[in-house]
Amino acid sequence: MRVKVNADKCEGHNRCCALAPEIFDVDDYGAATALNDGNVPPELEAKAKLAVENCPEYAIEYIKD
C-alpha cells in the first residue's frame, strides 16, 4: 500500500503526523509529506488508513501500484 499527500489540498492540520508519525512529516509551514516515498509497510496500514480518514482537507490518497 502507498499513500500520497496532495500538496494543493494540504493545509498543515498535522493530523496525519499525529496519527501516523512513522508515515508522515510536516515542514515549518505545515506542508505534509509522506515519508519513504509513501510506502506503507503492512503493519502500519491501519495507521495510514486512520490518517487518510482524519485529514480535514481530504488531502491524502491511496495509490494503487
Binding site: 492540520h13 498535522n14 503526523c17 509551514y29 480518514e53 482524519n54 485529514c55 480535514p56 482537507e57 481530504y58
Partner: protein, 411 residues
C-alpha cells in the same frame, strides 16, 4: 443578553445569542439542516448561517469571493474606526486572519513556523507546570470554578509566555479579550474601547522593540521581510493582537466544555481516569462535539449556492460547529463516542485560513486534561444550572462550579 424578541422562525430570523441556542445549538442545526440548510437573519447586522459540512468545505475555498477582511460574527461599523487615532497609528487588522490574497500567504508564513508541532513541543514543560500550579491553588479546598480558576489561565498564560508579555497582567489581558470578543457584542463603543486598549498596548511594545530589539517573538517578527521589504509595524501589532485574541477564549472554551462534559457524564469520566490511552481520540471527539469557533466571511461577488444568493456585502458564517454534527459525515453525530476513530472534524476551520495555532491549542488541551485527570480523577459539577455559556464567535462555558474530594497539594 437576550433583550431581542424571541425567535419564531429559525430559518429566516435566527438569533445567535438566544439563550437556549447558546446553551445547546445542536437541535436548531439539525432542524435547519433538514429544512433550510442555509438560514438567514437580519439580527445582529444580518448574516447567513450554513449548517452542512459540505457547504463549509465549499465556502472556505471561495477566495476571494468570500473575503476574510471582516471575520467577526457581528461586525464593528467600519467608518467610525477610520477616524480613531490609535487605530490610525497601529492599524486595525489582524493578519493573517483578516488577510486576503495576495497578502495572506506571506503574512501567514511569518507566524506558521512559531506553531509547528516541533516548535510548540518546546512549550510543553511550561504548560504542564502551569496546569499543576493552578490545581495546587484549589485542590485542598475540594471546590473550584474550573472555567475561571483553571481552563482560562492555560491558554492565557501560555500565550503571554510565548509573546513575552508581563504575566502579572494576565487578568487584564483576559478582560481585554473578553471585552472585544464576547461581552460587548451589541455595544460598539465598549468593544472599540477594548480593541484600542489592545492595539495601544502592543503598539507601544512593538515600537519599543523596533528601537531596541531583544531575543523575543516580537523582535523576531519585526526582523522579517515580506517580498524584500521589512514587515510593517502595523502588521506586527496586528499579529500580536491576533495571537492574544484568538488564543484565549477559544482554547479556554474547549478545555472548559470537555471538563463540563466529563463532570456530567460519570461513565465517560471514569473511563478517562482509568484509560489514559483514550485521551487522543476523546479529545478530538470533544473538539468535534463542542467546537467553539464560528468565523465569518464578507461576500465580495454575488454567489449563487443552492437556492440562495449571497450579495456583495453580505456576511456568511462559517459554522464549523454545525458542520461537525452533520450526519452525512459523522455517524450518530449527536452521540459522544470517545473511541470515534474516523473523525474528520473541522473545529479548527479548514482551507487556507485553518487555525494557525492548532498545534499549540491541542498541546494545551491535551496537557490540561491529562494533568486534571491525574490529579482530580473524581469530580462533578456542583450546580449544572449555574453553568454560564458564552456564544457567538466563540462558544464555551464561562463559569463551572465543581466539587471533588479535597487532597493535600502534593505527596
Amino acid at each position: 443578553m437576550t433583550e431581542t424578541p424571541p425567535v419564531d422562525n429559525w430559518a429566516t430570523d435566527y438569533d445567535l445569542f438566544d439563550d437556549a441556542y447558546v446553551k445547546d445549538p445542536a437541535p436548531v442545526w439539525k432542524e435547519l439542516r433538514e429544512k433550510c440548510p442555509i438560514a438567514h437573519t437580519e439580527r445582529w447586522g444580518g448574516s447567513w448561517l450554513p449548517t452542512k459540512y459540505e457547504d463549509m468545505q465549499a465556502f472556505v475555498r471561495m477566495v476571494p469571493e468570500l473575503s476574510s477582511r471582516n471575520p467577526l460574527v457581528v461586525s464593528q461599523p467600519r467608518d467610525e474606526q477610520e477616524f480613531d487615532p490609535v487605530l490610525a497609528e497601529y492599524g486595525n487588522s489582524a493578519p493573517p486572519i483578516t488577510s486576503d490574497p495576495p497578502d495572506h500567504i506571506p503574512m501567514r508564513r511569518m507566524i506558521l513556523p512559531l506553531f509547528t508541532p516541533k516548535a510548540v513541543e518546546k512549550h510543553r514543560v511550561f504548560v504542564e507546570a502551569l496546569c499543576h500550579e493552578l490545581i495546587d491553588g484549589f485542590i485542598e479546598k475540594g471546590t473550584c470554578d474550573a472555567a475561571l480558576d483553571y481552563a482560562v489561565y492555560i491558554p492565557a498564560k501560555t500565550i503571554a509566555h510565548i509573546i513575552g508579555v508581563d504575566a502579572d497582567r494576565i487578568d487584564e489581558f483576559i478582560g481585554w479579550v473578553r471585552g472585544v470578543l464576547e461581552q460587548n457584542v451589541g455595544n460598539v463603543d465598549e468593544r472599540n474601547r477594548y480593541n484600542r486598549i489592545i492595539r495601544q498596548f502592543f503598539g507601544e511594545l512593538v515600537t519599543e522593540r523596533k528601537a531596541n530589539p531583544k531575543d523575543d517573538l516580537i523582535s523576531n517578527l519585526l526582523a522579517q521581510e515580506i517580498n524584500g521589504s521589512p514587515v510593517a509595524k502595523k502588521a506586527v501589532v496586528g499579529m500580536c493582537n491576533l495571537m492574544l485574541v484568538a488564543g484565549i477564549d477559544t482554547t479556554w472554551s474547549s478545555i472548559g466544555s470537555a471538563l463540563l462534559h466529563f463532570s456530567t457524564h460519570p461513565e465517560h469520566r471514569r473511563r478517562m481516569a482509568t484509560e489514559p490511552d483514550l485521551l487522543p481520540s476523546a479529545m478530538e471527539e470533544m473538539l468535534r462535539v463542542y467546537s467553539p469557533v464560528t468565523m465569518a466571511r464578507e461576500v465580495t461577488e454575488e454567489i449563487q449556492t443552492g437556492d440562495v444568493t449571497f450579495k456583495p456585502g453580505d456576511k456568511v458564517l462559517l459554522n464549523f460547529p454545525a458542520a461537525n454534527r452533520d450526519p452525512e459525515v459523522f455517524e450518530n453525530p449527536d452521540t459522544v463516542d470517545l473511541d470515534r476513530e474516523k473523525n474528520r472534524h473541522i473545529a479548527f476551520g479548514i482551507g487556507s485560513h485553518r487555525c494557525a495555532g492548532s498545534n499549540l491549542a491541542r498541546l494545551e488541551m491535551e496537557t490540561a486534561l491529562r494533568v486534571w485527570f491525574e490529579r482530580i480523577p473524581e469530580f462533578e459539577c456542583a450546580n449544572p444550572a449555574a453553568v454560564e455559556w458564552a456564544g457567538g464567535q466563540v462558544r464555551g462555558p464561562r463559569h463551572l462550579p465543581f466539587t471533588f474530594p479535597a487532597k493535600k497539594v502534593r505527596g
